[in-house]
Symmetry: D2
Subunit: 141 residues, 4 copies
């Protein structure tokens, strides 16, 4: 199973008055992880969109375990598997040092620009096929 | 069961290049709904924080069904129930006209400023107690 | 000179670890003010865009004087004047109670979808024409 | 004069329905540039804050020249000079390939946690002293 590793430094504006990264900031980080994972697998999401393949988020689950703070360099480990001809589930574990900070599962659906479902491009499927069918269910479920 | 109703107009900057509201924007909207619901129940979250009661999000689940667009005036119906002495689950249904656009379930934990669990303030619990124990499970689960 | 008044409550996620509204949040508030001002003048920006008239921001100036905090209900007073056939300058003063918190001047340019300048729609110009030619220069200049 | 170079890839959520990076996104990018510049000069802003030196933004000027798009890898060149015992002006030019996309000038004020002005820490001043007194005025003025 391919695991994509990525790091993101928490921006100042992503902190809130609790003094920690606001929970909504993680959602954009997970998106960055998906896009970088696809890039690393040879599939530019930018190009996919320009070819008419959109991948809107249809489901989002996040479990927050420990806070991240401004300036922390967070580590993200992302895996992906398809759950049908037009859906991919990306699972990301966020950690800082030895600590797991959050876990997320984000489902995207391949659609046309009109919003109708379409098949995930073959090139991307072939890469995702490396994932076992019995990928562990996201712990956030 | 108390249902809190709220409306939010989608900001331009909340749109993305798909031409719809970005999925991360909803997360801040749900937060606004929780805070407005608490205010309507006589409990200012701002005051709670200044009294040392923080309510960080520990779990987030969102199911996106139909897109919202810039300038749409979205309707939010929020309910809440406690699931233990220090946890509240807020469930929000977002709609536009007759259409349900998204459903969310957000769990917050009452903590001290140091991050240790503490009991939800009695005044807030007594209000939440109006919720039936068998509140419907969030459909996003 | 038409002054458009608007109020916005500071969202939790717009606070940062200084305990005040982050300076980038104001930029989206000014955008909301421009759009609401245009709506109040009978000109929906959403409709303008769908008719092919885009108004990207070409210049932004903000002077921050006093902080706003989460949950503050901020007041915005916005005026507008055209500075050529395709440019409008919106000037906004943000206040809370008796205090001025910030002043901004935002210049937008009417363009086609391809980014070429175009004339501001006549209906909008006629409204803006109510502004004196000698509108006070934004104090943030 | 020290010029700090930095690159940031435009996030999907930073795009808007014009299909380009939203103008508010730049404001957070400039902040990231300031913080990375300070780090490169041996001065962690995180540490400064924990020592009681805050640097809120008091003035912001941005001139937008060409759009940036999702997935663009933008280049940022930042310089800084002090304009008094407690103020620093950071000037940033954003480019993509050969094109200048935006120019910004951001003034920060060193303050105590209570918001009162204080002197910029000597270690930081000594680094900024490398800047000529006659640094070019930001072109966005």
């Amino acid at each position: 199973m391919t695991v994509h590793h990525h790091t993101i430094r928490v921006r100042y504006g992503e902190s809130d008055q609790m003094g920690v990264a606001h929970h909504a900031a993680y959602v954009s980080w997970f998106e960055e992880c998906r896009i970088e994972m696809m890039r690393s697998l040879g599939s530019s999401y930018r190009d996919l969109e320009s070819q008419g393949v959109l991948m809107p988020v249809v489901e989002l689950k996040v479990r927050y375990r420990r806070s991240l703070c401004f300036d922390d360099l967070a580590s993200f480990a992302t895996t992906a598997h398809s759950t049908g001809p037009s859906r991919i589930v990306f699972t990301t574990v966020v950690s800082h040092g030895e600590e797991v900070c959050a876990e997320a599962s984000v489902t995207v659906a391949a659609t046309t620009r009109d919003g109708r479902p379409q098949r995930i491009p073959a090139a991307l499927v072939s890469v995702l096929a490396r994932q076992p069918a019995d990928a562990p269910a996201p712990r956030t479920g």
